[in-house]
């Protein structure tokens, strides 16, 4: 009776399970199945984003040119695609760039729309792109800032520059496991605190490690209880 119940929801609702069930070893459970699903669905992903260079007939906006002049060496690459400008920034210079973009007269990017990341697991060296979507409420223009970071390395937190980045960076940490140095409160935000692994990584199975709750509920309960007690203390 219990067995039939267990197998059913795991197969039917892959999305619901990872949000609730914590497990010690995420990829160990179903990596083969997940990999198989991925292979038959799509060709292997490219090692990184194309980051197209701007075509000759589009001129680079002044704020990017000024940034390149003010902080030489900080901008690795400027990219343009479907109307969006992106600057790719050297990770150690990120904070300088952030301060410059917020305060410089021609930039005034005072509004941090979004902070997110993209995982390119096959890229040599730096695996993650951290993406900052910026907007200026006074000059009404947009810019995307990208920086590359290797697994295990940390990026300087921009929550001191834009307070809005606080939760957004927490989410990136939660979902990708990218650490933000100098973040005031780097905790998980969407997943439970005791969660193992970072779900948005490409090598994290879509089903998640959720079977633990179904296979050995006792173990899961123990884990939960130990955590609850720690919280009450």
């Amino acid at each position: 009776m219990a067995d039939t119940e267990n197998t059913d929801p795991a197969g039917e609702k892959p999305a619901a399970v990872p949000s609730q069930a914590p497990a010690p070893k995420p990829p160990a459970k179903t990596p083969a199945a997940a990999a198989a699903a991925k292979v038959e669905k799509a060709p292997p992903p490219p090692p990184g984003p194309p980051d197209q260079a701007a075509p000759a007939d589009v001129s680079v906006p002044d704020c990017i040119q000024a940034l390149q002049a003010a902080l030489p060496g900080a901008v690795i690459q400027v990219s343009y695609w479907v109307g969006d400008w992106t600057v790719i920034v050297a990770t150690p210079r990120l904070l300088d760039v952030a301060h410059y973009l917020r305060d410089a007269v021609g930039a005034k990017f005072d509004y941090c729309s979004d902070v997110t990341a993209v995982d390119w697991p096959t890229r040599a060296g730096e695996r993650f792109d951290v993406v900052y979507c910026l907007y200026s409420t006074s000059l009404r223009h947009r810019l995307r800032v990208k920086t590359r970071v290797a697994d295990g390395d940390s990026v300087a937190s921009v929550s001191g520059v834009w307070a809005a980045a606080n939760w957004l960076e927490r989410e990136v940490w939660d979902m990708f496991g990218i650490r933000f140095a100098g973040h005031p409160d780097l905790r998980r935000i969407l997943m439970p605190d005791e969660w193992q692994g970072h779900p948005q990584r490409k090598d994290y199975p879509l089903e998640g490690p959720g079977e633990l709750i179904l296979e050995s509920p006792q173990e899961w309960l123990k884990l939960r209880q130990s955590f609850d007690e720690a919280e009450i203390e």
Binding site: A15, A16, P18, S19, A37, K41, A42, P43, P45, P46, P49, P50, Q52, W81, V82, G83, D84, T86, D110, Y111, C112, S113, D114, T116, V118, D119, V131, C133, T137, R140, R142, R144, W162, A163, A164, A165, N166, W167, L168, M175, R188, I189, L190, M191, P192, P199, Q200, Y204, L206, G208
Partner: protein, 374 residues
């Protein structure tokens, strides 16, 4: 008798109370851990994630067209707005030109959705402050909007009302007349809500000067939508980065002056009027033509990344999508959830206020947990 000096007579520690995740006024499964000194809030910690369904992860394993269904389930009070933002982002990646008629109808649907969402907001906000009747009045009008949506696309909550490249179908016959009729009803009934609230002394006392946030702070903390405008920042994606048919519409962007709960209330009420104005314009100038562009059967945008923002009823909803050019699903899809970003300001807003104001402030930032947790 000597009083016991070592043990104080009263325990004067701060009281920690857990508001939610099951609480009548947290609009879903939001948990706020409040530190109270008496009834005064000393600090608040917002705990979210109870409704996390992994929509972003799921999107990486779904077709581009299937994801429209997932966006329905983000902000389930305003799913057409989330649909619109998503399909527009994909169209941007595809560099696809959408027929003008489709853009007009999208505008109408988005504005109807804004009305529905604002009505739910007004109702639940008023109910949180104790005016239960307003809630039922608001839902009465929202019901009419749901009927309109039902007639258009068959669904009442999760519409799936947009397609990449256009719309699933043209307007049903006489639908436009019903919408115009509804617009008249809405403006008429708006007066009813205002009679109950706008000049009500208790309402004024409960909302004026509560949760004041300055324009600079609001920008820094990333507030968007009506809460940002309530602080006096003129920022509306519809005006600043026009999409759909908004470039051809005439409307005002209402802003507040004090950045308090009352101003945010007034801003939203004015937005209801402006939405009606936009709907009337769009219906008046509705062009003829197809509602769907030529779209390949299998959508595969070229490799590249983009971010595109819309003004949802809650604020700036944006999609950051990376396509690898080979697969039939996005390589990475990120939703910039307005509720999430607005909720971030909650601890800042509630500090120093009373428990009763926490409720008013959760109401005033208008969150939908489906979108916060995704």
């Amino acid at each position: 008798m000597e009083p016991d000096v070592a043990r104080p007579m009263f325990d004067t520690d701060e009281l920690v109370i857990n508001m939610g995740p099951q609480h009548p006024a947290t609009h879903g499964v939001l948990r706020v851990v409040l530190k109270l000194d008496g009834e005064k809030v000393v600090d608040a910690d917002v705990v979210i994630g109870y409704l996390h369904r992994g929509v972003e992860k799921l999107s990486e394993n779904r077709d581009w067209t299937q994801i429209v269904l997932l966006t329905d389930r983000l902000d389930y009070v305003a799913s057409a707005a989330a649909n619109l933002a998503y399909v527009e982002t994909v169209e941007k990646l595809l560099s696809l030109e959408v027929p003008r008629r489709a853009r007009y109808i999208r505008t109408i649907l988005a504005e109807l959705q804004r009305l529905a969402s604002h009505l739910v907001w007004l109702g639940s906000h008023a109910m949180d402050i104790g005016a239960v009747t307003v809630f039922l009045y608001c839902l009465r009008e929202r019901e009419l909007i749901l009927d309109l949506f039902e007639e258009y696309c068959g669904a009442r909550l999760t519409y799936n009302s947009m397609r990449i490249g256009g719309l699933p179908q043209d307007l049903p016959p006489n639908w436009d007349k019903k919408v115009l009729q509804f617009c008249d009803i809405q403006l008429e009934k708006l007066v009813e809500y205002e009679t109950l609230l706008t000049h009500n002394r208790i309402w004024l006392e409960r909302t004026k000067g509560i949760g004041v946030i300055s324009a600079a702070d609001a920008i820094a903390v990333g507030l968007c939508g009506p809460p940002l405008r309530g602080s006096g920042v003129v920022r509306d994606v519809r005006k600043d980065e026009p999409y759909a048919a908004y470039a051809e519409m005439e409307f005002d962007v209402p802003v507040g002056t004090n950045g308090d709960t009352y101003d945010r209330y007034l801003v939203r009420l004015e937005e209801i009027r402006q939405s009606v104005r936009i709907i009337r314009q769009a219906l008046g100038g509705l062009p003829e033509g197809p509602v769907m562009a030529k779209v390949p059967r299998l959508i595969k945008p070229p490799a590249g990344e983009t971010y595109h923002a819309n003004e949802s009823p809650k604020g700036e909803i944006g999609y950051f999508i990376a396509s690898d050019g080979k697969s039939t699903s996005p390589y990475r899809l990120r939703v910039r959830p307005p509720s999430f970003c607005n909720l971030q300001a909650l601890p800042q807003l509630v500090r120093g206020h009373l428990v009763a104001d926490v409720i008013a402030l959760i109401g005033t930032i208008d969150i939908v947990l489906g979108e916060v947790d995704r």
